[in-house]
């Protein structure tokens, strides 16, 4: 037995050695500044990740074409979270230890962000995220997390007030188990209680092919306004099942959940009258137009708009600092994201203004951060589906 397995072992060792030697062969472009994208390319978040990554690459390409940053080119290293904290930790280790990235951008699932956050702050790498869970910015991150997504408490408050304002008289909340499921229900219940409205709620298991029994349960309380708490895949199924069950009241869902993929999957009559809300993207801004052009789409999804901003914020902070480390981004982020400097919508134009003061206004909004890395001053945009397309309804 020993005799026969020896060559196999040797082959395995040789293979391992080759795999480890590979990076040193391919590590070209020394001297480039490196950023990592860590978006979900497969798994539950796989519908969002590829465009998020493309938005970062587009932003960086523009700066590279314009002579680079601090006289150096910027290189993007992309990794896949597989929407799994375990896989994401392995990927983040590679980005930090092998590629030496100054910043990691685009972590999506809250569990993934929480899992990679300690690696980032221990190694002084900046982490830009689109996750909404309130707990993330409460981690002891020493300023190494910045998130461009309004935290879930703010989002739910705004949507809940909207439901009251639209004249709903009986509310329901339905969504999968997420870090913000219970707090969403609590916030909606509190806002509704002020108006004397009852709230029925149901937390379901994501990744099911039908939600008929969940829909039956939630409709038993006879709601006339339902708030969805899920993502695109489960919201598609849920909207279909609500329609088939003959529900005729109002529905509101986050724009990232009721997005283009849902529009493609469902006929227009199912979506008619459904409301969506999102942190208002700056539709008329230079930055938004840039993302439209990079992705070749008319409506930019909120996550891609945010990762475009991540890249520009990181590049401007490095330009401001004159150094390319994660610590430099950490120290100078707020100097270029807010304040009274010249408003700019891309790193290319902002770098031209430096070392003067700039204030980056991004595709996802003004991109101003408070001391724990949460976004402030976000406007919200409500849309309503008419004939299969979302139409602007109200800004708050």
């Amino acid at each position: 037995m020993i005799g026969t397995c020896r060559p196999t072992r040797r082959a395995a060792l040789a293979g391992l050695a080759a795999a480890l030697a590979a990076p040193s062969i391919v590590r070209a472009q020394e001297g480039a500044i490196r950023f990592g994208t860590l978006t979900p390319l497969t798994g539950t978040g796989g519908t969002y990740g590829p465009a998020m990554r493309d938005a970062v690459i587009g932003a960086v390409r523009a700066v590279n074409a314009n002579g680079g940053l601090l006289g150096r080119q910027i290189q993007i290293v992309s990794e896949d979270t597989q929407t799994s904290p375990e896989a994401a930790v392995r990927a983040a280790r590679k980005l930090i230890d092998v590629d030496g990235v100054a910043a990691i951008m685009g972590t999506w699932a809250s569990s993934v962000t929480t899992a990679v956050a300690p690696l980032c702050w221990e190694s002084k790498t900046m982490l830009f995220t689109v996750s909404g869970a309130d707990s993330i910015t409460q981690l002891p991150h020493q300023g190494f997390i910045a998130r461009t997504q309004p935290n879930s408490q703010l989002q739910i408050e705004v949507a809940s007030r909207f439901m009251v304002d639209q004249g709903g008289t009986s509310f329901a909340w339905i969504g999968p188990q997420t870090p913000f499921a219970q707090s969403s229900i609590d916030i909606l219940t509190a806002v509704a209680a002020e108006a004397g409205i009852e709230v029925e709620s149901l937390i379901y298991e994501a990744e099911k092919s039908t939600y008929r029994s969940e829909v039956d349960t939630i409709l038993r309380s006879d709601p006339d306004f339902i708030q969805l708490g899920g993502y695109a895949a489960d919201s598609t199924v849920l909207l279909r099942d609500l329609w088939q069950a003959g529900y005729e009241g109002m529905i509101i869902g986050p724009a990232y959940a009721v997005n283009d993929s849902v529009v493609e999957a469902l006929p227009a009559e199912v979506l008619e009258g459904v409301f969506t809300w999102e942190g208002a993207p700056a539709i008329d801004s230079e930055a938004y137009a840039n993302v439209q052009q990079i992705l070749g789409v008319e409506t930019v999804d909120p996550y891609s708009a945010q990762t475009y901003d991540h890249a520009n914020l990181a590049m401007l902070a490095i330009g401001k600092a004159g150094a390319s480390s994660g610590q430099a981004i950490h120290d100078h982020l707020r100097e270029i994201s807010q304040g009274s400097g010249q408003a700019t919508g891309s790193a290319v134009s902002g770098l031209g203004v430096l070392p003067g003061d700039v204030n980056y206004d991004g595709a996802s909004g003004p991109c101003d951060f408070d001391e724990i890395g949460d976004i402030t001053g976000t406007q919200f945009l409500f849309k309503r589906f008419e004939n299969g397309a979302p139409v602007e309804f109200e800004r708050v």
């Binding site: 037995m1 397995c5 196999t8 072992r9 395995a12 293979g15 391992l16 795999a19 480890l20 590979a22 990076p23 391919v26 590590r27 070209a28 390319l41 497969t42 798994g43 796989g46 990740g49 590829p50 990554r53 493309d54 992309s78 990794e79 896949d80 597989q82 929407t83 799994s84 904290p85 375990e86 896989a87 930790v89 392995r90 990927a91 280790r93 590679k94 930090i96 230890d97 092998v98 699932a109 809250s110 569990s111 993934v112 929480t114 899992a115 956050a117 300690p118 690696l119 190694s123 869970a133 707990s135 981690l139 002891p140 188990q177 997420t178 870090p179 499921a181 219970q182 937390i203 298991e205």
Partner: protein
Amino acid sequence: MLSYLLATLTFAGIYGMLALGLNVIWGMTGMINLGLAGYFAVGAYASALLTTAAGLPILVGAAIGIAAAAVTGALTARLTLKLRGDYLAIVTLGFGELIRLIAANEIWLTNGSDGIPGIPGPFRSSLSPLEFNALFAAITVFAVAFCWALTERLRRSPYGRALRAIREDETAAAVAGKKVGAMKVQAFALGAALLGLAGVLYAHFTSYIAPDVFRPLLTIYIFLSLTAGGTGNPTGAVLGAVIVVVILEGSRFAEAILPAMSGAGAAALREITIGVLLIVIMRLRPEGLLAERPPKPLGATR
């Protein structure tokens, strides 16, 4: 770079520990277990909760984590004693999901899908990240070596022979006077203890666990490890786990070698590689790279 290699070695060790645990349950005794992520989760959660919420030392948390996984394993085995093959596979798959759903929904205990951050690691605060990775890689390698030796010893013992007899033909083993029921429960508990130990290592290494960690994807990687390495053979289990981690991690560098293959394409390619590899191995070498051979009895001279 060194820090990355050490972290990868640690992950390979954790995968190897999982493969060793699965090898005892499925490889040696023939009880298919598609819920191994569940026992992994029990070990990880027990130790994480005891060392964060209850503030116990890591070693105590680890010991209780391993014990909790073993008890859970014994209970599962006792409840499914009459089930074999496909039926056992379905029940264990359901069990794994059950544990994940409890972790996601019993917020008072597990903090729900927020997960548990800030799990302490041995000497983490007084070491640099590189030193911590080196220490933890050493701990993991030692633990895997110990468990490898333990299960290899088990395989060569008369007890291991009896387990193989149960795997090949339960009725015949019972007729030969083996206590089939008790031995199945014991083997399942031992295997689950190793899975729990893997969970303990994972929790204290990464410092964060959440229900999302314990999705069935991991179970598939471990089954691939064991099938590739050699079902029934502890050496094969560890080798298979190392190969799977090398593929998972090595494919990251493929993007630089094949510039045309990038982003979503590369991510999809990785998943395709894993799937194709499983098919190819099952087709060409169903017994794995290191096939199980009847071991020499203990004490026999070479």
